[in-house]
């Protein structure tokens, strides 16, 4: 977070060695930036009708963010445009000072979550081309995520296959909140294609799928939306496991992005306990739910859960596995985790290296 109320007990440990940042949000300086990458028909459609999502707002989010564009107040590029829209400023503010060796781009506000699936596909494809043109071809540290119109599994799978072998991309990106839980069969073509081209699926907290944000309806506040990403992600993960996605796609790897990880052990225990009783309902599962989670799921770290006693968090990490965490800052968003502050002294060198860089390089296949 960008505001620290509690002084750290130990001096911050600076990160002099290289790190991976597995959640960077690139933005368009203007919407026009995308038009060269899409047919005129869609350009005109956007001008006339805009992007109609599964919520009522034509512009901006239904829950107003805490800051403009949910971004750091110091992240406006000097040349203008929204935070995260300037490569040179991103290099200056993030990539160079923090020694980022690998930066994974997760474009939000793409075509995902749009009601018109043809439009969604056109915008997603444009965003993918735009990532190459504006970012990954200009800075080799940056790698893109293939965004897809996931409500239409067939077109999403085609977009994924179109990018097969393209080293500009290291994962397929989905949002967590969709029309249905992500284990449902309408999304399986996405998983099949991702497994086929050998990329992990990143599931980033966010989106609107037309369902109230809680099982009791719509909450009032932005903080409820933000905290609630952890609950939503638990539901998504439970659905993926219980629908048998990892039985059907045994090589599939998934990354839970920006939804926390502290809840993972408890979810695994709850799933296992009820699986013991209710196995007959999901007989195609060959292993305990927590074993699928242990083998198939990675977690980005930001926003790190923040207990009063830091050792509690490290005990939770032991339950999850130091080999499964991927450091992320969430740049340029306001709840940025500062790399030099997230791990106090006392974590072993091997775990520190895995946490900051090694796990990400291995997962994303970066030498």
């Amino acid at each position: 977070m960008n505001v620290q109320f509690r002084p750290e007990p130990s001096a911050s440990v600076s990160v002099k060695t290289a790190i991976a940042d597995c959640d960077i949000h690139p933005a368009r300086a203007t919407n026009d930036e995308l038009y060269p990458f899409m047919a005129k028909r869609w350009h005109e459609h956007l001008v006339a009708y805009g992007k109609q999502a599964y919520h009522g707002m034509m512009e901006g989010p239904p829950y107003p963010k805490a800051q403009p564009n949910a971004s750091r107040r110091d992240a406006w590029p000097p040349e203008g445009g929204p935070q995260g829209s300037s490569l040179s400023f991103m290099q200056k503010q993030l990539l160079d000072p923090y020694n980022v060796a690998l930066g994974v781009l997760n474009p939000l506000n793409s075509g995902q979550g749009l009601r018109n699936q043809d439009l969604a596909g056109a915008v997603c494809s444009a965003i993918n081309d735009w990532q190459i043109e504006k970012w990954t071809s200009k800075d080799s540290r940056l790698k893109g995520s293939i965004v897809v119109a996931n409500e239409d599994g067939v077109s999403a799978a085609a977009e994924i296959r179109k990018r097969a072998g393209d080293k500009n991309f290291v994962q397929v990106l989905l949002l967590s909140r969709n029309v249905e839980p992500l284990g449902q069969r309408r999304y399986w073509p996405v998983y099949e294609a991702a497994q086929e081209i050998g990329l992990p699926i990143g599931i980033h907290a966010f989106g609107f799928g037309g369902n109230p944000l809680t099982p009791s309806g719509w909450p009032s506040f932005y903080i409820e939306e933000m905290v609630g990403h952890a609950q939503c992600q638990q539901t998504v993960l439970a659905s993926l496991v219980l629908e048998g996605v990892f039985e059907r796609y045994p090589k599939l790897k998934m990354v839970m992005i920006e939804a926390g990880f502290g809840w993972a052990p408890s979810l695994g225990w709850r799933l296992d306990k009820n699986f013991e009783r209710l196995h007959s309902e999901v007989p195609y599962l060959k292993r305990k739910p927590s074993e699928y989670i242990r083998d198939h799921i990675w977690w980005t770290t930001q926003p790190m859960e923040d207990p009063e006693r830091r050792d509690h968090l490290f005990q939770v990490i032991e339950w999850i596995g130091w080999d499964k965490l991927l450091f992320a800052t969430d740049y340029p968003h306001w709840d940025f985790d500062e790399p030099s502050r997230v791990l106090p002294a006392g974590v072993s060198d091997a775990n520190r290296e895995a946490f900051y860089l090694g796990n990400a390089k291995k997962l994303y296949g970066i030498a």
């Binding site: 805490a66 992500l182 609950q231 439970a238 502290g262 979810l267 225990w269 309902e281 926003p303």
Partner: protein, 356 residues
């Protein structure tokens, strides 16, 4: 295993309504006529299908009828077995599922009267929860006031998945009535199915719904805290029933972090979420969603940083444990006493009041 001690308070017992027709004697002519003329069916919720393994421990399943529908069974299998001094009855009959607030009101009134006559009158250890028609706050308050005259009712019962997040201001008269009358608010697993059971819609499976109950408790706690319920009602106790509790520490670490970051959005929240939970929120013991390993459990208790949060429960007749292993292994005698006796008595003010 850890042995239970005598004199405990079982905070989550589920007496079952045999059938909707069992409530007919407690309805007026109009509603009796509605039920019979329209051929209304039994209100069994998908949250607890009668024959689902989790709805009853195998050895607690009766030869016929619904699990939990027989007082003698409950006495033998739960109250006597664990030396219970008080047992709090939380009926889970599916009255919340109906969409008419008038019908819901009639059914709730019948259910509460049925509980008093057919259970509380028949075993002096039993206490009741008032089931309310939450679609109408006005009718809910009236039902709370009506039932509260009977001091054996110690709690107001709501489902964790309902029409609106429970912190919403519209519900506050319910909380004011409970606080005024010395009742706790119990929030129990289960859905009215007026909204999809998850934030991403409907899953395919019963196990998915049940696992999702824990996430519903988490979003409700957020709502209750950030809307300011406990700033307005600092003495109100709320009990999360059949919620699980092993998710609590990591949940609070996240909530606390976001609250520090954006508390300007909800400036009326006058204490840190951690403090609010420690003073106002309690959790029933079962289910214990953790491996039966003392080292893991003790680490979890350490993460909770309080020995006052848990209240003993069997969740009878639901299947949460086998044999007499109602307490997880490795609990110290002091913690057993807190969970079984001290914490419930401190939570349910009416338990120690002389019965009028």
């Amino acid at each position: 295993m850890t042995s239970p001690i005598a004199g405990g308070v079982d905070c989550d017992l589920h007496p079952a309504v045999p059938h909707l027709t069992s409530l007919l004697p407690y309805m007026n002519d109009y509603w009796r006529d509605q039920v019979t003329t329209r051929g209304m069916t039994d209100l069994v919720s998908q949250s607890y299908p009668t024959n689902s393994p989790i709805s009853s421990r195998p050895d607690w399943r009766p030869g016929q009828g619904k699990p939990g529908s027989d007082l003698a069974d409950m006495q033998k299998q739960a109250l006597d077995r664990f030396g219970t001094a008080y047992g709090i009855c939380n009926p889970l009959y599916g009255v919340q599922m109906v969409f008419s607030e008038d019908m819901q009101d009639a059914f709730c009134r019948a259910l509460n009267d049925w509980l008093a006559r057919e259970w509380l009158d028949k075993d002096a250890r039993l206490r009741g929860s008032i089931v309310i028609p939450t679609q109408s706050v006005e009718k809910s308050v009236a039902e709370i006031e009506r039932c509260a005259k009977d001091k054996r009712f110690v709690q107001v019962l709501m489902l964790v998945m309902g029409d609106m997040p429970l912190g919403k201001r519209a519900y506050w008269p319910i909380y004011a009535a409970a606080e005024r009358l010395g009742l706790t608010i119990g929030i129990h697993a289960g859905s009215a199915y007026h909204n999809p059971p998850t934030a991403v819609g409907w899953g395919s499976y019963h196990i998915e719904d049940y696992v999702a109950q824990a996430t519903a408790f988490q979003t409700q706690l957020t709502s209750l805290i950030v809307e300011g319920v406990f700033a307005r009602h600092p003495n109100l106790k709320m009990v999360m029933l059949e919620s699980g509790f092993t998710w609590l520490p990591a949940y609070l670490w996240r909530l606390h972090k976001f609250w520090r970051g954006i508390r300007m959005e909800t400036p009326w929240v006058d204490r840190a979420p951690l403090e609010i939970v420690r003073s106002n929120i309690r959790f029933s013991l079962q289910p214990v969603d953790a491996p039966p390993d003392p080292a893991t459990l003790n680490r979890l208790f350490d993460h909770m940083q309080s020995d006052e949060l848990l209240l003993f429960s069997t969740d009878y007749p639901h299947w949460q444990f086998d044999g007499d292993e109602v307490l997880p292994p490795g609990l110290s005698p002091e913690l057993v006493r807190k969970i079984m006796i001290d914490n419930p008595l401190a939570t349910y003010g009416r338990l120690q009041q002389a019965l009028a």
